[in-house]
Amino acid sequence: MGNITRRKFLKTGAQGVALASVPFLFRINPLAALATPNPDAMTLRDYFDHFGVTETAAKEVMEAALSKGGDFCDLYFQHTVSTYIGLEDNVVNRAYTNVDLGVGIRVVKGDQTGFSFTEEISPKAMKLAAKTAANIASGPGGSAPGSFNPYDPPNYYPIETDWETVGVESKMPILRTMNDMIFGLDKRIIKSRSGFGDDTSYILYLNSDGIITYDYQPSSSLFISCTAEQDGQVESSYADYAGRYGMEFFTPEKVERLVKKSIDRTVVLFDAVKPDAGEMPVVLGAGSSGILLHEAIGHGMEADFNRKNTSIFADKIDKPVAEKFVSIVDDGTNKNMRGSINIDDEGQPTEKTYLVRDGILRSYMHDLISAKYYKVKPTGSGRRESFRYMPIPRMRNTYMLDGPHTRDEIIASVKKGLYAEHFANGQVQIGAGDFSFYVKNGRLIEDGKLTKPVKDINIIGNGPQVLSKVTMVANDLTFAEGGWTCGKAGQGVPVSMGLPTVKVSAITVGGVNS
């Protein structure tokens, strides 16, 4: 290769690949290509090249950011390429791509934050944004760090083939296979649509404490929905997978399982009834029922709400909140899981944070501002939807650890109640502590047995009260397979959750009065 520079080499490689149908490669600098042949091998230097910035330029931007007396600033560079292919009524009749590029500049003074972003990665535009963000403070200027401490993060989401080299013609067969299968497996299916999405983000992060780090974040999802008709009754449902997966995840077995799940969830609704209204025991099936944790305690344990005294959990650290066999964690290290992060969006290492350990409330989820306020170590929970937003404490993968019971004994212990299996959405008011989640599929429990299917029920309760009413926890922790997005302060981040089979002794079920 002699003296061919890295840039020229990348350009040559990409042109060859561009003959196929790869989703387009966004060219930040039109003279340089983007995707390296092997993102796993990218170094910090490669990330600088990727964004066309230098350490010197970053320092100048920081000087501008701190010019009015802020005590901290950070630069969050992001480049995301996403693709979606959709099939409806037997035709792959849509595809969408999105390219996003920019840098978010934050200035912090105490617990006050100034923020601005620019989509133009030039020193001039960045300095202008930095000066805008600097307006949060008013005082003598600070200076940029003399040197940076690079942090090479671990990799919790290794994949085999990066999505930027997978063309649409490789994804279409999966959709077509699912489509043929779903109509073939059940003659009651009258409509179906499916979609395959993926996105890849390159992140470069620097802050005035001298931290400098980077991440490569793949993500993908596959969904199929169907509508079925029987004796004039029409019902619909769906199933999906989502995670930080590469193409290798979507094996024929996984694909077939998804189709069957979608059909099963749909046709069971033909026989579904509404439960009685009011308080009753509810057993949550293992898996995405982890939404219970996300709403009942997760948001309430985000440190910003507690720092501001608005959360019902603000005065409960080190107090018992649940039975001794209940432990709840928020974890960024689960392999290839949707809510996992190698670094958070403040350049902090991620970890497994115990929210509740053996029944005692132990730790909030902190961003840098909160960690400083509480004088604790950051927990790697500072996340943001994109460079357009300032980071705030967010969840990652929230789940409860295994307990001493079994699923069978839990169900057998309920005389009259509800078994909740499949969920749509949830919400919480962290001050009052009230939360709810919506059950799309479930079953009645009568005399210790699962009986009639039920559908479309909202369940509502109070976080601390419900936690104290978790009376049985099984040994079958399972994680959600589908995709969940958490919304807070107008920004969404990908998350996941998990739960073993759990019994809540009493909670209000949105049924009908008999």
Binding site: Y96, E229, G431
Partner: protein
């Protein structure tokens, strides 16, 4: 980027995409500036200001379709972007219904000033913004000594956009938006920290609710929640406050779309001309409301906007039909999305409606919940006030309402005159009779 530059760029993008092999193209370019600030504990907590742009490109090649967005609008970057996006489209499958809107629907565009852009926007200074936020927080703080913390916030934005279609459509739009906000969290000796907020958003700065009112109302709402508890399960009369009624009405929107009809995901399928609600339910889609948050002269398909009665005294009159699903169902497109929603309003304000309830619940907000577009089943968490003999008695929480939307909307017995001006959906308080509630 000024208007002329944007217009030139949009035409250039269309030309380039046709050159790259597309049969039809639509391009939409927008620029947007947003400023937000918030005050808490007597200091400026957050200050946020940025400008962004975006290009959305829809490409049709042999009836194959794809859509692309990017925020890098430099021509040298766009050239490669357009080439690759067009190349990718060729790998998809043809769908005979994928084509741009028939140009006959571009005709008849109204030529009126909807007053979407406030001329006063340019004169709002950074100091003024911070002052608004500070005033709202101050107003809240002074209402009660049981306040744990409160926040005041103000924000505004300005957007300009152009849409160009290769089959002859061109349209520009611009608009401003301002909001005032306050939030307060109270002590509740029963445990918990109930909170309340007030949010008012409008096109013109002068139409905003005052910072004083926002602060006062946020505290009033938080105080009303102190001591809240659930009622026994049963059937209750219900008032849905105007600012939260949109949540309930939106359960009708998706089933009204041609998209959902085509997918057989609609319990309103086949019900055109039939009764889907009581005589009190009249839902009008009006794009021409002066200073309306949803006002427009044309939609994303280029279709010229028209005022339409969607539901007339409970009779279902019209679907929301976009270009693609309209072609698929062989229906003339109207528009796939809502503009402003207005109703036929009643004669009573909220207080009068409360006085008319013997035993019921005033719902101030929903907490989670959902509805099923295919069957009309719904279940929502509710938060509000218990009403007895026309008086607000105590806060209500941890309750759900459930049932089927076909039944529920027939139980709409009255609507107020209090249209919410701070939303594109200008809904009044809704009164329902005999709603299934689950509680204790």
């Amino acid at each position: 980027m000024n208007r002329n530059e944007r217009r030139e760029l949009a035409h250039w993008v269309v030309k380039q995409t046709l050159k790259a092999g597309a049969d039809e193209v639509s391009a939409y370019i927008s620029n947007y500036r947003q400023v937000d600030c918030s005050y808490r504990d007597e200091k400026l907590e957050e200050l946020n200001e940025s400008t962004q742009n975006s290009l959305s490109l829809n490409i049709y090649v042999d009836h194959k379709y794809s859509g692309h967005t990017t925020n890098d609008l430099r021509r040298d970057a766009l050239t490669g972007f357009i080439e690759e996006a067009t190349a990718m489209t060729k790998f998809l499958e043809p769908d005979e219904f994928r084509a741009l809107t028939d140009p006959k629907f571009y005709k008849g565009r109204q030529n009126m000033d909807l007053e979407k852009a406030d001329p006063a926007y340019d004169s709002i200074t950074a100091d003024k913004r911070v002052k608004m936020a500070r005033q709202a927080e101050n107003a809240a703080k002074n209402q009660s000594d049981k306040i744990i913390t409160c926040t005041g916030a103000y924000g505004d934005s300005y957007a300009e956009a152009i849409r160009v279609h290769s089959n002859g459509f061109e349209g520009e739009s611009s608009g401003t938006s301002h909001y005032n906000y306050a939030e307060a969290t109270m002590e509740d000796k029963n445990g918990g920290r109930p909170s309340g907020y007030y949010y008012g958003q409008c096109r013109y700065f002068e139409d905003l609710p005052t910072s004083q009112f926002c602060g006062e109302d946020a505290v009033r709402r938080a105080l009303a929640k102190v001591g809240q508890k659930k009622l026994p399960s049963g059937r209750y009369d219900m008032l849905i406050e105007n600012r939260t009624a949109g949540r309930l009405l939106s359960s009708l929107y998706s089933p009204m779309t041609a998209r959902n009809i085509s997918r057989k995901n609609s319990f309103l399928d086949g019900k055109l001309g039939q009764r889907v609600g009581s005589e009190k339910l009249t839902m009008i889609d009006d794009p021409f409301v002066i200073r309306g948050m949803g006002s427009r002269l044309f939609d994303g398909d280029g279709i010229s906007a028209q005022k339409r009665v969607m539901i007339d005294k409970g009779i279902f009159k019209a679907y929301y039909i976009d270009n693609y699903y309209g072609r698929k169902l062989d229906m003339e497109p109207t528009s796939g999305g809502t503009s402003n929603i207005i109703m036929e309003y009643g004669t009573k304000d909220l207080n009068t409606m409360i006085k008319g309830i013997k035993k019921g619940i005033l719902v101030n907000s929903f907490l989670g919940g959902n509805s099923n577009d295919t069957t009309g089943d719904f279940s929502y968490g509710i938060v509000g006030q218990y009403i007895e003999d026309g008086q607000l008695i105590h806060g209500v929480n941890e309750m759900n309402i459930s049932g089927n939307l076909i039944d529920l909307w027939q139980q709409l017995v009255d609507v107020g005159k209090d249209a919410n001006p701070y939303s594109s959906w200008r809904l009044p308080t809704l009164q329902f009779h005999d709603v299934e509630c689950s509680g204790a």
